[in-house]
């Protein structure tokens, strides 16, 4: 995984709560057996006026001018600002794949759905939880004529909107470490193979019915 240390990007304000993973990447695109190429179909049903299909050339599709990512100010945004419970619903990792493929590295919201939140860290995306009043402020800054640029500094757990003071954010130490170093979880876990094996042996004795298959 690519390291995440610092990131500067413009902010796209998606002013909705409960944005679900079906909206982030609709089901027809989940038929792919690849991990990449989902960016053009990110928010497909909101972004385009026609019905999207897998493997279609999206460059000539009719776009929905009212959708935030079609606003020229936000087209190249790297930071997504949203409301409560972002990423709820299905566990599909295609959602963070699509966000990352589009170019989003940071998502800021007052709260995230659990599985989506986890999935972000596996894909080099930093989800940041901030208090609702700060989110409100960021929404008003991001909706100005000039797009808002934010510098995100993971090491110091700080984000700085251009022209404003720094805002601190919380992150679990282990997740921070993995993002900063771009670590592969599986490799880390396999360092404990011996301990897993010992645990498994004990479990086999205690609950042999778990191992019938």
């Amino acid at each position: 995984m690519e390291k995440f240390v610092k990131f500067t990007g413009t902010v796209a304000p998606l002013d909705r709560s409960n944005v679900d993973t079906d909206a982030i990447i609709p089901k027809q695109f989940l038929k792919s057996i690849r991990r990449s190429g989902f960016g053009p179909n990110l928010f497909d049903e909101w972004r385009y006026l026609d019905q999207g299909e897998p493997d279609q050339d999206c460059s000539n599709r009719p776009i929905n001018p009212d959708f935030v990512l079609n606003d020229p100010r936000y087209r190249h945004a790297g930071i997504l600002l949203a409301r409560d419970n972002f990423g709820c619903g299905s566990s599909r990792e295609h959602a963070p794949w699509a966000l990352a493929d589009y170019g989003f590295k940071v998502i800021i919201a007052p709260s995230f759905a659990d599985i989506f939140f986890n999935n972000c860290f596996k894909n080099g995306i930093l989800p940041i939880v901030l208090k609702a009043n700060i989110i409100d402020e960021l929404f008003s800054l991001a909706s100005a004529d000039e797009p808002l640029e934010i510098l995100v500094d993971l090491q110091n757990q700080r984000l700085t909107p251009a022209g404003s003071g720094a805002i601190e954010f919380e992150i679990e130490e282990f997740r921070k470490h993995c993002l900063l170093e771009g670590l592969d979880d599986i490799g880390l876990t396999l360092q404990h193979s011996e301990q897993i094996r010992q645990f498994e042996t004990k479990r086999r004795t205690k609950a042999p019915w778990v191992f019938l298959t």
């Binding site: 002013d15 909705r16 709560s17 409960n18 679900d20 079906d22 909206a23 609709p26 089901k27 027809q28 989940l30 038929k31 792919s32 057996i33 690849r34 991990r35 049903e45 019905q51 897998p54 493997d55 409301r83 409560d84 419970n85 709820c88 619903g89 299905s90 566990s91 599909r92 990792e93 709260s111 995230f112 759905a113 659990d114 599985i115 986890n118 999935n119 596996k122 894909n123 679990e172 130490e173 282990f174 979880d185 599986i186 880390l188 876990t189 396999l190 404990h192 193979s193 301990q195 897993i196 645990f199 498994e200 479990r203 609950a207 042999p208 019915w209 778990v210 191992f211 019938l212 298959t213």
Partner: protein
């Protein structure tokens, strides 16, 4: 030792190691796999030259993408076909047991697992699917994971986790006639909201939960994820034990006796403390109908479509307006006045035999309304289908004008050909009413199986509590 919750017990039994900050390596007993969230995980294993840690822990079946009719001709959608074939070949390559598309044991993975006795009390269970929470009904710690974690579990048999907070939702009293497990869980989501469970594992308890069948408990746990919780659990009791005994992969003989003795301890201790407690009165729960585009947008069937003008919270009011616009509904409309175009009975929420029986009970001797363009019954598995056919339920449905299909996820998420067209309105026994969930611009109302059946007959929602005289 301190009084422990059921969640504490399940957690403690699976801790391989814990770091200072609480980050824990948790051992996973059972791993369910389907075609949509696994191909990239298997590819990851191959690229890294890794093998599954314990292939016996893994059981696979294709469900999301499979057609529900004309299966003998294979899958006509080439992209879907490749995905299902990829599952087949990955299972062959890595030595994983798969119930393939034409195996009678195939079906929605969350129906298949319990049915086969593959889900046993005390297990940790994961699957690359959010509705893995279903299996908590068997007294397991079960939750959905993303594809990277699917690969992690395949490679290490473990997951890196932090312990959640605990919540107990107690449903006291007894349900009125015609009110089901689905109505309980929709009422809970209506009460605590779709983010109400975020950061928690919920234990469902109380008289009304104890009175539910195992199928009903699975329905409640299934939709725990719609309340945002990591997992839902129900304590083991006689019903759990009776449900599991004799199933294909359940222990037998002396091993059964040992297992049962241990499983009987899978309940929260007297005096165990929860971080949050919620209590609902079962007798006050009416049949529920969602009106909007989030499962928390739910009202009793006797209610009306709510008015965003009366919502204090501006963001919420805006969300309600958007939902009403998407759903093509006016505030104040009685729920029973909402006309429907389609009816879908099935899914991991309500595709088990008991669900089909409850729906058939309403349908028996009646006809689907002429205004309903399609009424689908999609059994949760090949074995549910076979059982229903033995009981003659298929005939009840087809005589009434329902279509009787092959098992799969079908119109719950509409990855296959079973989809709503723009503007179509569906009474659905599934779990999500998100925009576009059942097809672009399709409109979904979540209900219980008997409520869906009654809606198919009437062409609009009806309060099944008032249908008793007609039965």
């Amino acid at each position: 030792m301190n009084a422990r919750t059921l969640y504490d017990k399940l957690w403690d039994d699976h801790v391989v190691r814990t770091e200072q900050d609480g980050t824990t390596l948790l051992y996973i007993d059972r791993h369910l796999v389907h075609e949509v969230t696994s191909p990239q995980a298997f590819e990851g294993l191959r690229l890294a030259g890794r093998k599954p840690w314990r292939s016996g822990a893994v059981i696979a079946t294709p469900d999301h993408n499979v057609p529900t009719k004309n299966r003998s001709g294979g899958i006509s959608d080439p992209v879907a076909r490749i995905q299902v074939e990829t599952l087949d070949s990955n299972c062959r390559e890595f030595g994983i047991t798969e119930f393939g598309m034409n195996d009678v044991r195939q079906g929605v993975v969350h129906v298949v697992g319990p049915e086969q006795g593959l889900i046993l009390p005390g297990m940790t269970v994961v699957c690359g699917d959010s509705h893995t929470s279903t299996h908590g009904a068997m007294g397991t710690l079960a939750f959905g994971i993303g594809t990277s974690e699917v690969e992690h579990v395949l490679a290490t048999q473990c997951l890196i986790q932090k312990k959640s907070k605990s919540m107990r939702v107690r449903i006291d009293g007894t349900l009125a006639h015609g009110v089901t497990a689905k109505d309980i869980v929709l009422a809970i989501i209506g009460e605590i909201g779709t983010a109400g469970g975020t950061g928690y594992v919920i234990e469902f308890a109380g008289e009304a939960i104890q009175s539910l069948s195992m199928e009903g408990r699975m329905t409640v746990c299934n939709m725990t994820i719609e309340a945002g919780a990591r997992a839902g659990i129900v304590a083991v009791d006689d019903k759990t034990i009776d449900y599991i005994k004799g199933r294909s992969h359940a222990p037998a003989g002396e091993q059964w006796d040992a297992a049962e003795a241990i499983w009987r301890n899978l309940h929260s201790d007297e005096g165990a403390v929860f971080d949050r407690e919620v209590v609902l009165d079962a007798s006050r729960i009416a049949p529920q109908v969602t009106w909007g585009t989030s499962p928390e947008m739910v009202v009793p069937v006797s209610g009306r479509v709510p008015d965003p003008g009366r919502e204090q919270d501006a963001t919420k009011a805006e969300g309600m307006r958007r939902a009403l616009d998407y759903m093509g509904l006016e505030a104040g409309t009685p729920i029973t006045d909402i006309p429907l175009d389609l009816v879908f009975i099935g899914s991991c929420t309500n595709g088990r035999i008991e669900d089909l029986r409850a729906a058939a009970e309403i349908v028996r001797g009646r006809k689907v309304a002429a205004t309903i363009s399609q009424a689908l019954v999609v059994p949760g598995s090949g074995l549910v289908k076979a059982q229903a056919e033995v009981e003659g339920l298929d005939k009840i449905f087809t005589t009434a004008g329902f279509e009787w299909r092959e098992p799969g996820c079908s119109m719950c998420l509409a990855m296959n050909a079973d989809q709503l067209k723009p503007g179509e309105r569906c009474a659905s026994t599934s779990n999500r009413n998100f925009e576009g969930r059942q097809g672009k611009d399709g409109r979904t109302h979540l209900v219980s199986p008997p409520m869906a059946a009654a809606a198919a007959i009437a062409g609009h929602f009806v309060d099944i509590r008032e249908m008793r005289g007609i039965e």
